[in-house]
């Protein structure tokens, strides 16, 4: 790498580092090693569960929908699941501001969750309780806004 690029990279890193420090200072510190994965095994390993905002953007303020994808450990979609949603802000001790519900399936194994709202920035937890084929399991997702 040429010296110019090294110096430029160092300057950029310096600026990014400073910005990161400020961002950290302005939020309540997050727990170390917080798992921010949007796709994971459910707690007992019965399902693979993924969550994403329907329009790709997690946002503060308006009601919006999320898509929960549920599959078996072998990757086949779980098409007949019943999903209950709970959650909140662990650092603030309050729950979700709304009562989101799974309102229908958009494709095999994909469930539309309507009524999601995040009224403030910070660390949110979204908890899904999934029942399908006589099996019940849970999956918790950490979301940072």
């Amino acid at each position: 790498m040429k010296p110019l690029r090294i110096v430029a990279a160092l300057v950029v890193l310096l600026l990014l580092g400073f910005g990161g420090f400020v961002a950290f200072r302005m939020l309540q510190p997050l727990p170390d090693g917080l798992d921010l994965a949007r796709s994971k095994q459910s707690a007992a390993g019965l399902f693979i569960v993924a969550v994403e905002p329907e329009d790709g953007k997690m946002q503060r303020g308006p009601l919006h929908a999320w898509i929960a994808s549920v599959s078996n450990p072998d990757g086949t979609p779980v098409a007949d699941a019943t999903i209950a949603i709970d959650g909140g802000m662990p650092q603030h001790g309050h729950g979700l501001p709304t009562e989101p519900r799974a309102t229908g399936s958009t494709a095999p194994g994909k469930y539309r969750i309507e009524g999601v709202k995040f009224n403030m920035g910070g660390w949110w937890v979204l908890k899904l309780k999934i029942e399908a084929g006589g099996k019940t399991d849970t999956a918790e997702f950490n979301l940072v806004l």
């Binding site: 010296p3 110019l4 110096v7 430029a8 160092l10 300057v11 310096l14 600026l15 400073f18 910005g19 400020v22 961002a23 200072r25 302005m26 309540q28 503060r60 303020g61 308006p62 009601l63 603030h92 001790g93 309050h94 729950g95 979700l96 501001p97 709304t98 009562e99 989101p100 519900r101 309507e114 009524g115 709202k117 009224n119 403030m120 920035g121 910070g122």
Partner: protein, 399 residues
């Protein structure tokens, strides 16, 4: 000098030589989220088909200032929502025909709120407007009285917007479900179809008032001008800049103070409900706030899912998905917009706190709530920090 060292020195000089910005890039991003430049257009009001009809707004403006919509002929909406006082009245408890249990809310920005009133017991601005009109201590009149006043004074304007006015010749002068015993009896004996006709006119009064209030803009502040200039990479004019103390206040607001948790976005409210340990007022009934509002919303014939709503059920998401956890909402109230708040004491839902200094002290001390649980934790602010927060809040005063 070797080339590498020369480049390194030039790079450092470049960084050091920048005009020192009063805000870091991250702080500027946060500030932009609070400034008017981030304000989204007013959301649609699907339950009111006339919400953006200028004719309805014009009729709403007349109704807003007309004291004829009151039992004593002396109370209009503008009595408590004064146009030159941020559409509020500076009183701890609103005074109409009598005295209410709550403080008048400023109306600027209300059109963005999914739930109205301190406890959010209404889910649209048109439905909100109906509450004070029928309250015995506010306008002090019944819905039949108000509908007859439309027939007498505004029939042509009404019909141009809402169609033919029903035949009102047999309507009693005073009848409504929430009035005196006589007024309630007069209401109950009316044929169901007549009650529905009166309800529809009454709802349309609210819809006109909403159309008017949707035309009220949020007012620009020094904070907005300052942040917009910084966001554009311009140097703000000296008289439009925030000084060191005001910037320190902004940093407290968005940092240690955690004010931004609930006072976020360009209206500086999260439109939700919070218990912040505000005290009770001697002589007033216990106020459960949002906890008591949930049942009112669900049973309200003028809600988004009701017969007088123009919305399809799928457009009523705020009502359908609202949290109904009364326990979580015990004594929770809506954070008002902080735009202009420093200039409009007294504070809180029943005017419990008389000055902005005492408000900041309240948040610094975080007292226990009379019921439910406060969300606050003591901030233990220093004297300088309190002064800085107040200085920052004044940068949100309307110009």
């Amino acid at each position: 000098m070797p080339k590498t060292r020369l480049i390194a020195l030039m790079s450092l000089a470049l960084v050091a030589g920048c005009e020192p910005s009063p805000l870091t890039p991250q702080e500027l991003e946060t500030a932009k989220s609070l400034a008017l430049m981030s304000l989204e257009p007013i959301p649609p009001s699907p339950s009111n088909a006339q919400a953006d009809n200028p004719q309805a707004a014009a009729l709403g403006a007349k109704i807003f200032f007309d004291a004829g919509f009151s039992g004593n002929g002396a109370v209009a909406c503008a009595t408590c929502h004064l146009p030159d006082r941020q559409l509020q009245d500076d009183l701890p408890l609103a005074k109409g025909v009598g005295t209410t249990d709550r403080r008048s809310m400023p109306l600027l920005g209300a059109a963005w709120s999914p739930f109205l009133f301190w406890d959010g017991h209404k889910d649209s601005l048109w439905s909100q407007a109906l509450g004070p009109l029928e309250s015995p201590v506010e306008h002090g009149a019944t819905r039949t009285f108000h509908a007859r006043h439309i027939a007498g004074q505004y029939k042509a304007e009404y019909e141009a917007i809402f169609g033919t006015f029903p035949d009102a010749k047999d309507w009693p002068a005073h009848a409504g479900p929430g009035g005196t015993k006589e007024e309630q009896t007069a209401w109950q004996v009316l044929p169901e179809n007549t009650r529905k006709e009166i309800d529809q006119v009454f709802a349309n009064i609210g819809k006109s008032l909403e159309a008017f209030q949707r035309t009220l803009p949020l007012l620009q502040t020094r904070f907005d001008i300052f942040i917009e200039a910084l966001a554009k990479g311009q140097n703000p004019e000296p008289d439009q800049s925030l000084n060191t103390q005001e910037i320190a206040g902004f940093q407290l607001f968005t940092g240690k103070g955690e004010c931004i948790n609930c006072h976020n976005g360009p209206r500086l409210t999260d439109d939700h409900f919070h218990n912040t340990g505000v005290g009770e007022v001697a002589g007033l009934p216990k106020d459960r706030g949002r906890a008591a509002a949930i049942a009112l919303l669900d049973s309200d014939p003028f809600n988004c899912l009701g017969a007088y709503s123009d919305a399809a059920p799928g457009q009523c998401g705020e009502l359908q998905f609202m949290s109904r956890d009364e326990h979580e909402f015990e004594r929770a109230f809506k954070p008002p917009s902080l735009r202009g708040a420093a200039a409009r004491p007294p504070y809180m839902h029943s005017g419990q706190i008389s000055s902005i200094e005492a408000v900041v002290e309240h948040y610094s001390l975080a007292p226990e709530a009379p019921s439910g649980h406060t969300e606050l934790k003591p901030l233990n602010l220093t004297t300088e920090e309190k002064a800085a927060l107040i200085a920052f809040l004044h940068t949100l005063d309307p110009l």
